[in-house]
């Protein structure tokens, strides 16, 4: 497969995964904002997904409708839903003969939906949840179409690598921001709805109730999001799937590239698997999460170096 094509598919997949994560987060955050007594702060969302300056974030963190517009329809925001879907579509277009017709049509429809003028109006004046639900659904359509129609070739596995890498990074970032508001302390008792809404935003609430029957506390949250193998958004799950997808790329010819990357991915997986809450209590949540984030970014850079940017 052409390096350029692999690169485009990988990024198309990362953009779509990012878009899905953002939409779910926005949806739940909006619900939370309608629920509380105090003013709801959108700061975590803005910190994780935008490169807004801290002062701008401070100024806008209570402006729910404005944040929604910015995160969904704003063309100047590189991480708005519109921008992400547009970029995903352009990536697909540039390698159109490497995605199925169904996948292309799906992205095309998603793109047209996201640039519909009525979307912005409804988001501003009506119930934003309906809008966000429609968009999430378009994303589901994309995932299903990929699963059902894409041939299981190199392109498919590069897409998976992008998806799971992005997902792992997102989970790390979300944990990072949420814990930073508690000064990275595992002891701090916070409002239980704080964690409940976090879990809802990553579709993890139901599994939490079934796995950790006790009250919502930060240790269990950390456990679920880092180590729970049954939770499809946990970091270990994403890294495992990343590893599996990467292993399909092994051939006779790419020993150097393959060795380097499988070493990095394997090391990260082991690191996560063989640390537990006790280690984190000693090391500190902040350092642990940062370490994982840096490793994930290094994997992204190595993929770029060995597979996409042929030298």
């Amino acid at each position: 497969m052409l390096s350029r094509v692999a690169n485009s598919l990988y990024w198309m997949s990362r953009y779509m995964e990012r878009c899905d994560g953002i939409l779910r987060l926005l949806r739940v955050n909006y619900e939370y904002s309608q629920d509380g007594f105090e003013a709801f702060s959108w700061r975590p969302v803005l910190v994780i997904f935008t490169d807004m300056l801290p002062q701008t974030i401070e100024k806008n963190k209570y402006e729910g409708r404005k944040v929604l517009q910015f995160m969904v329809t704003d063309k100047l925001n590189n991480n708005s839903v519109f921008s992400l879907v547009n970029k995903a579509r352009e990536n697909a277009r540039s390698v159109q003969d490497n995605v199925t017709k169904e996948v292309w049509q799906c992205l095309n429809e998603y793109y047209h939906t996201s640039r519909n003028q009525n979307l912005g109006i409804k988001l501003q004046n009506d119930d934003p949840i309906s809008v966000l639900n429609d968009l999430v659904q378009q994303g589901m359509y994309y995932y299903g179409t990929c699963e059902i129609t894409m041939a299981r070739n190199e392109g498919y596995y590069f897409m998976n690598i992008g998806k799971y890498l992005e997902r792992a990074m997102q989970s790390v970032d979300i944990l990072n921001v949420k814990f930073s508001e508690l000064n990275y302390s595992l002891e701090e008792k916070s409002d239980p709805t704080y964690w409940k809404y976090l879990l809802l935003s990553i579709s993890g609430y139901e599994i939490f109730l079934k796995s950790y029957r006790s009250a919502l506390d930060s240790r269990n949250i950390l456990h679920q999001i880092v180590w729970n193998e049954h939770f499809p958004r946990s970091i270990i799950y994403s890294v495992r799937r990343l590893k599996q997808s990467f292993e399909t790329l092994k051939t006779d010819r790419t020993t150097e590239a393959y060795k380097a990357l499988s070493h990095m991915i394997g090391k990260l997986e082991s690191h996560i698997r063989y640390t537990d809450l006790k280690d984190i209590e000693e090391k500190g949540v902040k350092d642990y999460l940062n370490h994982i984030k840096l490793e994930l970014m290094a994997i992204g850079n190595a993929l770029n170096h060995y597979y996409f940017q042929f030298n």
Partner: protein
């Protein structure tokens, strides 16, 4: 039953109507007429809508970029097919084959011994003043001595019903993907009509082309690596590039995906460098190789010409074909046929005047209301003037341009292009058409896909069929009788 659409059809007497001879329907169109008259205008409009939706959803579009966003536009399609009888087609086919043989021999000659110049058939200045003549092709041995692997010869019909060659397109002719798509759309909007009318197939074009490309591979293995080189997604014909690549099962590459090492071409893949044997390039000559042609080209591959010269890669179409489809050299094509083949041309040229010649120029200027003046290296219908449609000021300005560089202009009498019925705004009306058959020249001979692209000047009264200027297309049927 609603034959009113046809009853209200108003043809004209200054052109040849493809379907009507006065008030009588020509025999090849009778079956089509019988089928179409059963539909009301609303039903035909629905079919038009269906065609539009199919084009959109299948992605048969070209993209107009505004800012960072790509907006899809459909190449306008008229639902009424254009029909050609098998005897008309035989005539066109034989004529094109003869013409292509001569043009190919001309290219071989002009890039080697130049006998045609030495025998004073074509003046030497005509060749060397042509900007598309590439000195780099001189004495370069091309595989199987074929230069014009893929060509589109534009044919028109004059008011007396005779077919003429309007121009040759030997560099990167486009439109074949629309020919294929138009047929697919017709199958959907008029079910069962094609089988009952016995129309010859066009669907084999990609397989034919692949076979010819594979035969050019320098490495004689069973599975040569063939790629389609595209300028990229911002090119207006990108849809065609990706469609053809998909239908032939070959890799679609851009210049940056290729690299030349030790005079061999490779493509950059996730598994390392892979050798390339044949390149079907839709990048213009001057952008092909920044080391040889335009130095700032981002679309080509540095060192490509050196690999080509050493015979390590085949390039389709060969660079330098532009000297043979130059509109002034066009005047000499009948002479080429006589010179190389010792035959009379079957298909005639449209009479053409060289504005470089003072007496011809005087004649043209005196009769300018009856003339079309074009640039010799123009395309897309731009840079031309139609004498009876331009204002006096436009004509005077154009004359000044001609006098500045007369070699760059030719003139032809305004040909009254034939017209075919089109379904426009709920009515049937005649619009002018031309025909671009696509010919494939391979080691085993020349094959021409039956039909080709019929282009339509959708604006009433217009004679300009190019897509960039409001043209559309029709499905073209060659009957099997």
């Amino acid at each position: 039953m609603d034959a009113s659409l046809f009853n209200n059809y108003e043809t004209g007497d200054t052109f040849y109507d493809e379907m009507y001879n006065g008030k009588t329907i020509r025999p090849p169109y009778v079956k089509l007429y019988e089928h179409l008259k059963q539909f009301t205008a609303e039903e035909l409009t629905q079919k038009e809508e269906m065609a539009r939706r199919l084009f959109m959803s299948q992605g048969v579009t070209f993209t107009v970029y505004s800012g960072d966003e790509g907006i899809e536009k459909i190449f306008p399609f008229d639902i009424v097919p254009r029909i050609i009888t098998s005897s008309e087609w035989n005539y066109i086919e034989t004529g094109i084959k003869q013409r292509l043989k001569a043009l190919n021999l001309f290219l071989n000659d002009v890039y080697s011994n130049q006998f045609i110049i030495k025998d004073k058939i074509i003046p030497i200045e005509m060749i060397y003043s042509c900007e598309h003549y590439l000195r780099e092709m001189h004495n370069l041995k091309v595989p199987h001595e074929i230069f014009v692997h893929i060509s589109g010869i534009d044919i028109i019909r004059d008011s007396d019903g005779t077919f003429y060659v309007l121009e040759d397109n030997l560099r990167t002719p486009s439109g074949v993907s629309y020919m294929l798509e138009n047929r697919e759309i017709t199958k959907r909007i008029f079910p069962d009509l094609l089988p009952s009318t016995s129309v010859r197939q066009v669907i084999n074009y990609p397989q034919l082309l692949y076979k010819n490309l594979a035969a050019l591979s320098p490495r004689h293995n069973s599975n040569p690596t063939i790629v389609m080189l595209t300028p990229g997604i911002y090119n207006s014909a990108y849809f065609e590039h990706s469609t053809l690549a998909r239908l032939m099962g070959i890799e679609l590459v851009e210049g940056k995906d290729l690299v030349v090492d030790n005079h061999r071409v490779f493509m950059k893949t996730t598994q390392g460098l892979q050798r390339v044997d044949v390149i079907y390039r839709r990048v213009d000559d001057e952008y092909l190789d920044p080391l040889v042609f335009k130095a700032d080209s981002m679309l080509g591959v540095a060192g490509l010409m050196s690999a080509y010269r050493k015979g390590h890669v085949a390039i389709v179409n060969a660079p330098g074909n532009g000297v043979a489809d130059d509109k002034a050299v066009y005047i000499y094509v009948p002479d080429m046929i006589k010179y190389y083949l010792n035959e009379e041309p079957i298909l005639k040229n449209v009479p053409t005047y060289k504005l470089e010649d003072a007496s011809e120029r005087e004649h043209v200027f005196k009769n300018i209301e009856k003339m079309v003046i074009k640039k010799t290296n123009g395309s897309g219908g731009y840079g031309m003037i139609i004498g009876n449609a331009a204002t006096e000021q436009e004509i005077e300005d154009y004359k000044i341009e001609v006098l500045k560089d007369p070699r760059s202009f030719i003139a032809q009498p305004i040909i009254s292009l034939s017209a075919a019925p089109c379904y426009i705004n709920g009515k049937l009306a005649p619009r002018r058409i031309d025909l671009r058959p696509f010919a494939l020249f391979g080691p085993s001979g020349i094959e021409i896909v039956p039909g080709g692209l019929t282009r339509v000047a959708l604006k009433e009264g217009s004679l300009v069929v190019n897509s960039s200027q409001g043209g559309g297309s029709k499905d073209t049927w060659v009957l099997n009788d």
